[in-house]
Symmetry: C2
Subunit: 563 residues, 2 copies
Amino acid sequence: MSNVEQLRKQVDEQALTVRQLKSSKADKEQVTEQVALLLGLKEKLRIAGGDNSNSSSGTPAAATPKASGGNSEAGKSTGFTLKTAKGTKDYTAKEMAVRKEIFATLTEVFENHGAVTIDTPVFELKEILMGKYGEDSKLIYDLKDQGGEECSLRYDLTVPFARHVAMNGITNIKRYQIAKVYRRDQPAMTKGRMREFYQCDYDIAGAYDAMIPDAECVRVTVEVLTRVDVGPFVVKINHRKILDAIFDVAGVPEEKVRMISSAVDKLDKLPWADVRREMVEDKGLDGAVADRIGEYVQLRGGAELLDKLEAMPELMASEKAREGVQDMRLFFRYAAIFNVVDYVSLDMSLARGLDYYTGIIYEAVLVEENVRPTQAQPTATGAKEVKEGGDIDESQVRVGSIAAGGRYDKLVGMFSASRRTKGKGKATDVPCVGISFGIERIFSVVYSRMQSAEVKANRTKVYVISLRDGLLEERLRIATELWDCGIATEFAYKVKPRFQNQLNTCDSEVIPWAVLIGSEEVEQGLVKLKSMAKDVSAEEKSGVAVKREDMVAELKKRLGIVQ
Amino acid sequence: MSNVEQLRKQVDEQALTVRQLKSSKADKEQVTEQVALLLGLKEKLRIAGGDNSNSSSGTPAAATPKASGGNSEAGKSTGFTLKTAKGTKDYTAKEMAVRKEIFATLTEVFENHGAVTIDTPVFELKEILMGKYGEDSKLIYDLKDQGGEECSLRYDLTVPFARHVAMNGITNIKRYQIAKVYRRDQPAMTKGRMREFYQCDYDIAGAYDAMIPDAECVRVTVEVLTRVDVGPFVVKINHRKILDAIFDVAGVPEEKVRMISSAVDKLDKLPWADVRREMVEDKGLDGAVADRIGEYVQLRGGAELLDKLEAMPELMASEKAREGVQDMRLFFRYAAIFNVVDYVSLDMSLARGLDYYTGIIYEAVLVEENVRPTQAQPTATGAKEVKEGGDIDESQVRVGSIAAGGRYDKLVGMFSASRRTKGKGKATDVPCVGISFGIERIFSVVYSRMQSAEVKANRTKVYVISLRDGLLEERLRIATELWDCGIATEFAYKVKPRFQNQLNTCDSEVIPWAVLIGSEEVEQGLVKLKSMAKDVSAEEKSGVAVKREDMVAELKKRLGIVQ
């Protein structure tokens, strides 16, 4: 691992330490000390040229001072800055080994539920993405006009999926997709917020009976998060129709529903008083209306909360509310059979930003990091002061959110032609429900728990070593034979490598077995099989002599490969 | 599979038929007939809205006539064309199932040779890519300037890899990467030429003894191409130093070496007379110089060709030539030990376009499609007429090339800072050698050989079916139990699905086993296990009754899952 990689890992680990201290409300002095350590590491990383995403200045690279005379150790090159673009990063071999494992786990769960995968292009026609993301549309990356179509990098996997379904006239499909998406957001590496990042989506499209696929999505969420072992989590759920009914009953004017909805969504990180002030002062909502909203959106609980809602005549006067509650009753029934009801919390403040949701919405959050200020202690000063108080700071915004999704029944229809054919408006709607995993967040939780030394990046099983005299051609012959048998094998690319260097490579690459040869062994038709593990017999440590023709069989036996 | 997908597959298959007929020099009438069929299918696909990459007109989408009144069945939407961007396409579930298999095979071979994988961003700072691709730089996609850095989509995986190695001060790494790259080329779907496509690269970076990693790259190439079963192929090899010496000895002026080199590279698809004319008439080379080049570059053969080269005193006067020949001697020795020498052909006309190669270069080509006009029959008219003659047409250009690469010892150094530090110029060069697989071409060869029905897109093993009465909750319970045991399970998302519909799904999705339940079975604590295969006993076809508590064990037994 290079110096920069090591530093980057140290920064990530230290950032996590700081975050954990803060959320465990540790001693203030201790926090300050650890923050100082973090800042020092960040500075070292910056000097080493490896920090390319943590600047919040938005300064274009061209304005960065350049190395004069090429004296800087690394990170600068002949006339330009050697770095990845802002908000993007390379993943090292060790990081990739862990990421591949996580992707494999997700894939296995998705496929166990019958999902297939499709692939869509990284860029779409710009008009496909327009009007789907509300205010966030400004974060879409466009391609330069080089003559031809106007294109943009995909912002998520949901809209391209809906486009694919509509374009091919598909009426039902259960698909997963693990792929990169792009957002021109202000990057912040320590928060895991990048401009290029993976999304892992699982969606069920098709006209089915109520809440069956919806409940399966939550089951998939629980299976994935349990399997990747991300720590304790809860799946908050709500229903768009109930939320709409609340705004309706409380008397929110039609044109303010969106902004009020997004204010409500902040209740997971701000006390009600702050959210109320945002509604009234910033968004001009009538105070009485805000208070009526407050009565509803601070409610949370299990299935029993549905009884409470049903006992509210004002709310139940709304057909939408009745439909929503009925859906949620079904959901809880199916979720109980799927054994996931214990993970679920009905939370009336969950609103989700995107416009296209039409039914159930959900969001999985890590429990220990989901620090929520006590509702009973509203402050009069708002977000900034809360931050200074140490409880909530910007770096914790949504940090606990690791999966989110919901039902979107109208998105495919937005793309379908026949929507305009009179009288058949609904024929091309393909109802969808899905979940998107915050895989970068999951990765950073899992990876930061590991010791770097634990991670084996390669899969090499055998290293062919000459004791002396090089014996290159004999080493090549042995490697060839092992490759032919599917045994992952390496050797030093030197005519006469030093014995100790070969052993060191074997050690540092965590290769479990070495095949040792010297001129003597070659003459006698032998090889020695040496285990690189620590807890083995003295004989295996120094090397067990076996006949050359038995080498493959003996290695397979030791590697546990079924013959 | 949707109508559009089916049509697209038919077009691809028909295009292959036509290509095969042409290369087998079939009866002209037969070819004409099949071409007409192909054009008809393409037109059908175009009407269905699925053809989004085959237009060579370069017309932007905005200029495409729009559906008026929304009468067209599919492919048009409310006010805009519903398609993927030019030169890009979606991959369906069946295509992805096959692609995933191919990727897995490549990954296995790469990892068997000890390679690790890294990930780099889809876009790089524009200046990183500048000056690396010669004339092809015009094909680079730029991102729009939205305030910030100037970025471009990656053109290949080699330059980002070199940037990664330089940036992190890595001195040795063996890495593979399977990822998308972008080129604003004129797309042609039937030729497999897209604007977004995957590359699969395997590279060895580090200062090692001559030709050992180089020979291993060719070994990896042969392993991959044999394992994916792409058909007979040959790996053409040449050496940049020998080629440079030839141009030197023949008397090519320094400033013309590049263009003459690219003319020579066309010898795999044009007769010498045409290449000579290009050199002399288009590129202003002296006729006598061209003739001297011709003596060398038409040579090809095995290791014995090296004897022939060594017997040419004029060539051997060049130190570069001597070095190149010496390298190639070593290469043939190692390739023989690696058991790949029979696949290798030394071909003095192989030049490869890219500027950064410094040593061995190679290219794997499919044998049956590598149609080369007879060298003894030069025509006086050139490429266009040859095309009309039917032997060579543009669609066959490079069509046989399925992997290519070589040694590039200076690329990392181009990125390294210390190059400018006086006296240490060479310290930051990291010599590299690698191979890039034309995975899209390999995929299209493998996929077009398959019958669509053969491909199972999902991995579902069990479908839970109710005989009557719906029994939704019991079906959910059974699915939950099977998921808990890692058995891929689906069921109909309906409260009361029809029995026949459930069976049909099971059939069309090629799900091997059904669990049947009716009220009677539930009461008696039984389930029936029904095999969906054709060649099974009458009992298994109608369903074997087993106890509910034995269901998992019985299914595992039948699915061959070790307990």
